[in-house]
Symmetry: C3
């Protein structure tokens, strides 16, 4: 089990290296990540390479018995490169170039940038591949983060045209499938197709979907190129990874595709960041961890950056309470992280991250955060064998990048947050402390008993067939509103009933966006009533169908169903046609489904997680107050370990 810190020796006077490494060892650290922002140090002038500095760092790390993850430095291009080749700088939607002076400003479609990146990574790999301290390589840093997934430069335009040419047999086929005859947008040639930049008043949703896919493919291709370079040079024992910033729902990225280029995935796990006045809800952190684990099924994952203190560039927020970083670290390990690195050894005194608080403060003393880290590492080592075991789940939440893209292109409701729609279905199950996999819609689902299908706007016929087979064989699918409106080209299904609702024996003619001030409620025959938001489909049970209405709307559309269940073969499809807000609804639904599928569950109070790994129960209290669970009195932010 690798436990360590991110370390930037180059940011400190040379005298600190030796004392830092010695202090790390005494703190229980056995691994450091280094070098991922150090292009200028390794190539100070164009074509002049110098790898002495980190060779020395590696030697000293080896001396202290520390293992090293190396980062390739392509996230931060050097100033000489930006100056000599300004065409590498990316351009925003309105045509404004991003300038040197931050990070991630380069366009991954720039030929010069790809060439220079290939060269520095090649040279670096050659320089360090055989060093005994090296155990892993991180490609770049947080690809696509902070809007860098978008660029509208001329290179991108040409590459987009090439991409489209590869996707369609001819421009006529593109015209037909994307419906460009609408608003006279037919193209005579691929080279007439502009990037979707500011226009009046709305863009072609089909072309936009291909643009999202093209942006995603741009990052995947860069990852693949870099991984291929490394793999040719480094030993098989060294793993290749990349560190995801973890915002899986607001990026033009396909994280499954990227992950398939890697040996193992890694997450930068920050449960609070910047100006947030409260941390992210613990269940959403759990979902992010489960999702990270799901990108390479069956494998655990690294955390390359775990929060130890407050983190911000220019606006700060909530201060993690004493013990809370430990709590979040345990949560991460219990959800599948088996190698954990804190960000960062010592807080920077210069540069843009002066307020990203690391293990050591600016005063360089062994303070509370140092001791909190030490405690986590001591505890974790005792449970290494449990934590290294893979996690087995019977519930799966579906991740479908195309569907996310389709919602981004046409949110339809001002309240639409596709991330939250995933969490809406997930929340009842995490409260029951069952393991949940978040898996790509391409994955096999036949080993699961329950599949959660959040707001599947874009759903292909093949995907529907797979899901129906799953139900027929005894599975339960819970799907939510606006299902299967769109096909793989982001066109609306034409001239037929909605193919997903048809499976359920339903139709929906009346539909309504509910906005931010929705007063709509749903009600069942017993008079139980819940608030609804975001959207609603008014469901009609079609003649001869087996669908059962569970909830109706309670206003003038009260003859229409909001929640239905349909028995299909040996399984069941539960369809929820609106965005229900009450936690209670989701808790009851999960209870019922877990019971039906005989999945063992343990309901805990809100904010409390109990997770069994091996024969040990780990109990976490995310609440800022003490709480009683069974016979246990859990202090705020407590981590209790029982059994073994």
């Amino acid at each position: 089990m690798y436990l360590g810190v991110d370390y930037y020796p180059e940011q400190w006077d040379a005298e600190f290296l030796e004392q830092d490494l010695a202090r790390m060892v005494s703190a229980g650290i056995n691994c450091i990540r280094i070098a991922e922002f150090a292009w200028h140090l390794m190539e100070p002038k164009e074509g002049q390479f110098n790898f002495d500095y980190f060779a020395h760092v590696l030697d000293r790390a080896e001396h202290y018995g520390l293992k090293v993850m190396l980062g390739t430095p392509t996230a931060t291009l050097p100033a000489w490169l930006a100056k000599k080749y300004p065409e590498v700088l990316s351009v925003d939607e309105v045509g404004i170039k991003r300038h040197f002076g931050g990070r991630r400003q380069a366009c991954l479609n720039s030929p010069v940038y790809r060439e220079k990146s290939a060269l520095i990574s090649t040279k670096m790999a050659e320089a360090y591949a055989n060093h005994p301290a090296v155990i892993a390589w991180q490609i770049d840093n947080e690809l696509g983060h902070e809007t860098s997934d978008w660029c509208y430069c001329n290179h991108c335009e040409r590459e987009f045209q090439n991409y489209l040419q590869a996707q369609f047999e001819s421009v006529e086929e593109l015209n037909y499938r994307l419906g460009t005859v609408f608003w006279s947008q037919s193209y005579n040639d691929f080279n007439e197709i502009e990037l979707p930049r500011p226009t009046i008043p709305a863009k072609n949703p089909g072309l936009m979907l291909y643009f999202y896919r093209f942006r995603a493919e741009t990052i995947t291709r860069f990852t693949r190129e870099q991984a291929t370079i490394l793999r040719k040079i480094i030993p098989q024992s060294q793993q290749i990874t990349h560190n995801y910033p973890g915002d899986y729902y607001n990026k033009a990225q396909n994280f499954t595709d990227i992950s398939e280029c890697l040996d193992v995935v890694a997450l930068n796990n920050y449960p609070v960041w910047g100006g947030l006045e409260q941390p992210v809800e613990y269940g959403k952190i759990a979902m992010k961890l489960d999702q990270t684990r799901g990108f390479l099924p069956g494998k655990n994952f690294w955390i390359t950056e775990q929060l130890i203190g407050a983190q911000a560039h220019t606006i700060m927020g909530y201060l993690p309470r004493p013990g809370q970083a430990r709590l979040w670290s345990w949560q991460a390990m219990l959800h599948g992280c088996n190698n954990l690195i804190y960000f960062r050894w010592r807080t920077a005194t210069k540069g843009a991250e002066q307020f990203c608080y690391g293990v050591l403060d600016h005063d360089n003393q062994d303070g509370p955060r140092y001791h909190e880290m030490q405690q986590v590492f001591n505890e974790a080592r005792r449970y290494a064998s449990e934590l290294n075991q893979p996690i087995k789940a019977e519930v799966a939440l579906i991740y479908n990048p195309d569907n996310i893209f389709a919602w981004k292109i046409q949110p339809q409701s001002v309240s639409m947050d596709i991330h939250h729609e995933h969490f809406r279905l997930y929340q009842g199950f995490i409260r029951h402390n069952v393991a949940i996999d978040v898996i790509d819609i391409r994955q096999a689902i036949d080993t699961y008993k329950v599949v959660l299908l959040p707001a599947p706007l874009l759903l292909t016929k093949e995907q529907i067939t797979k899901l129906v087979d799953f139900i027929q064989n005894g599975g339960i699918v819970i799907s939510s509103f606006r299902a299967a409106i769109k096909d793989q080209d982001n066109s609306v299904y034409f001239n037929q009933d909605n193919p997903w609702l048809k499976v359920a024996g339903l139709k929906a003619y009346y539909i309504e966006s509910l906005g931010n001030n929705s007063q709509v409620t749903i009600r069942n025959p017993s008079g139980v009533e819940y608030q609804a938001g975001v959207w609603r489909d008014m469901l009609e049970v079609t003649t001869g169908s087996d669908a059962q209405t569970i909830y109706n709307y309670s206003d003038e559309f009260s003859s229409y169903a909001a929640v239905t269940e349909t028995v299909i073969g040996a399984g069941k499809l539960i369809h929820i046609a609106t965005g229900i807000n009450d936690k209670e609804f989701w808790l009851n639904l999960a209870s019922q489904v877990l019971s039906l599928q005989s999945i063992p569950a343990r309901l805990t109070p809100d904010g409390v997680e109990i997770i069994r790994r091996g024969n040990t129960d780990f109990i976490l209290n995310h609440n800022n107050h003490a709480i009683r669970y069974n016979d246990l009195e859990l202090e705020p932010y407590a981590v209790l370990i029982e059994g073994k």
Copy 2:
């Protein structure tokens, strides 16, 4: 009476044309509008014209007895044109070019664009003018909509300089009349005058007024050019129209000028659109209809696009309730529409308007909206003769584009909404169900008994003279705050009393903007009190004047009047110096004025309209609840027809 749908056969596989036309006929349709976005289909490559497609559509329409309105296709330039002549693309205020991929991105001052537009319209007119199915032509589509009224390209700059040169005898005269000596902005030559682009901190209001007028004239000139082309080619029996999007208060457009280029005006009538969570207030819809009718006095108008279902690009909102589209259709016809076309036949499955719901849904079935349309058409035909009669009104609301522009340039109050200021004066009269004309300030007013003059910031001496004559002869004028501050150059009247207040026997030295959180109230001697907002002039009755104070302010300015009446000759001027919010005030005022002027009126509950056409009363309930009116129990969205 033409009743029909907008139809885009080119967006569907060829097999649908025949069945669509047949279904239309059986639904009661006798007219379709086609072709207004089909430039690429008619000129797929530069100079290569092909009119076969719509010739075939016209033939088949003729076969089924359907009449056709043709749209010229200039609202959506083809991709080849944008690619070859990028200078045709318009530019926003900060200099960012609008790109291909939407609609209306062309600059109407671009010589190439005007030439290419003239050519396609000429060729199209030649191709179809003599087809027996054709009854009318729509020029372009929603000119000026969606910010396309603004462009800041180099063509516009040159044309603006030419425009100014035509308006002023010399640059010295411009300098003098616009006061460019202020901030050293004197010009030595017209070619030094930049478009009013981003600067620090404020622009010359006189130059801005001329810029608004120039923008308005740009659209008028384009309409005139296109109308002239069509008129030369098409038979006299075919009418020329243009479809207004209906937002008459937020555009740099002069709708009177544009209308004068047309045979008949047309409105696209959407009482709810996009993300609106509630429909537009019914009285504001009525005002828009009355205003559309007023652009060509004495004539009724077309509706070229009438809402039948929810309409949105990317964010949706309120779903029109069953029956509500019928209600709005009847309201439109009762306010002067005598030919009505629904948008659109079948909902698009591809392109930017997938969520603009038409008569048929994506499933292509005869659904509820189909039946609602059919009902409207059946009903309307029975009352064709009533609906074809012109409407006669004794109350006129003044539309003055220059005044609207002046308010846009200097809103003065953060709460200023010049559209609402028009409605403020209109609201009491519509509640009394009297006919109201909205007429341009250039029109004769001597046939009216009441004239409403909303917030006439810019009011010329000639206009004042005409209004005073009207009052002298027995008319009543109701004017509101901030009257007659500005002259025709947007300069403040100098060195004299305010010329409108002088008419009323008033002065206003103290003035105040009331912002969004106004606590100001007005009060009459009986203690009746109303909330005031937006603005207030503190009125003083000048010595020897006949002005009577009706309301005073109730705070430290309580010695000043807020509402006054002045008898002038045989008539009366009622001046309201602040933005009174309470409906009751306006209801009482209208009651009193209608009674004084002996105009027959029928007061109905809020949300209920009763309109007599011929010998028939049509009663509309816009409320979402049942309501009693006289002996009638009106269901939500009811349309009741009585008499005959």
Copy 3:
């Protein structure tokens, strides 16, 4: 004592000059400011100078016995200059050029602009220097106002590189001191350093501090160049000034440096402006006046523009009540203004300032504002000798431009408003009606008894030494949160205790940004509790220190101090580690400190000021209601003069 108006004769027909001057004299005016926006009038074409117009105005002013302040016209470049040399126009952060049509659009780093400005000022000085009416010169107008302190043009980039080269011995030194190794931002040459334009996601805070200083120096240098030109030509008796717009906390300007180029400073004093619905708090107006006085210690100052009526470009707000302009004028004089000019003689009828109401209204009558001005002038002359005396203070509030810049670069809390943090410390003292100097941190402080040090994020070792000496010798310093984190390069102090807290015997490991919804309170042992916001440091008293805890936090961090006092030598350091909102806290603190330091004070009710000048007490009621103070019944906006 000069009392007068700003006058723009060039904006009116020639016939008005004579009657205007005569009316001014009869109103009590003895001074006018003219010409500061009249470049085109003096140089209508490039190199063609014509000074006849203002020569005539000066002659006529002399005839009426009026003295004149002349403004150099460089704030508004003529159209011919913008047209011929477009490179003089400034550019915003994203690269958008500011256009002609407003004011202040020129870049002060443009060589052409500096050359043309030098030339017009030279010629103008030569033309008018020897006129007997001239008593003073105003350089330009409101330098840096309305975002004109920022420009990102190519000239600026080159000058910034030059500036940096002058600040650092080598690029290596820059790299080291600014920590550019972070994110691989090391430069090989100064010419690689771009202006800090849009990038991802954050910029180097050290480079940003130098950029702020460079922007500040740009304006200082322009002032110095212009002052040098004037000084060479004009007689010693004519004073050189510049009129500050008064927003000292949101500008990249160093007002101390600028002031040192001048003979006397001047303020444009607008207690309400634009759309503000209420005037600025009277205490903040007082602080602005005290600060203006402090830029040239020991000297009084001019007000070159004093509000007489409502002031706005396009959005108006609160109307100054009758008598309120007089109140504000007296407040200004009592805080150190001894020459006062109202903005402006007659309200403009043309140009961007039609709604900046002057002494005369658009009707050109002697209205209420005319009479209010006349009253002020009559009253003021009676107290000229008192008002001309300098003001002596024993309390000093520290102004530190570098500290303001550091907070702008990294606000750290979403609620941070460094202006308000200055006022937070000032408020209790102004309520006690003691004189307060606002002085630059470079000034000597040994003549004061109390020093207020607001949120001194950036504090150098030398500054700390000076402050400690001050305390040792019996002074009291009140400092607030986040003290001494940064050094002169905007780096965090490394490897040591916080040097300011160390002085106080304190440490702060836990820190937290409190945002906009803070529920945090502080509490003392007696149970007195106050709300805290913006930020908090959790203070620990270090072992063996003399620090006394006065308030603790009341939540889970209740073992940490929020307010402490430390006796040091003969003085005391009071440290307040959070943003306390309650006025009561600050009132009590000031009471206690004034008493300890034996500074005579008179506590008045909120809104009431009492200021003694010579042997006279002046009592001002800023409240909008009557209030009793001692035996006096003060009407709203009253100015009472007692004694003598």
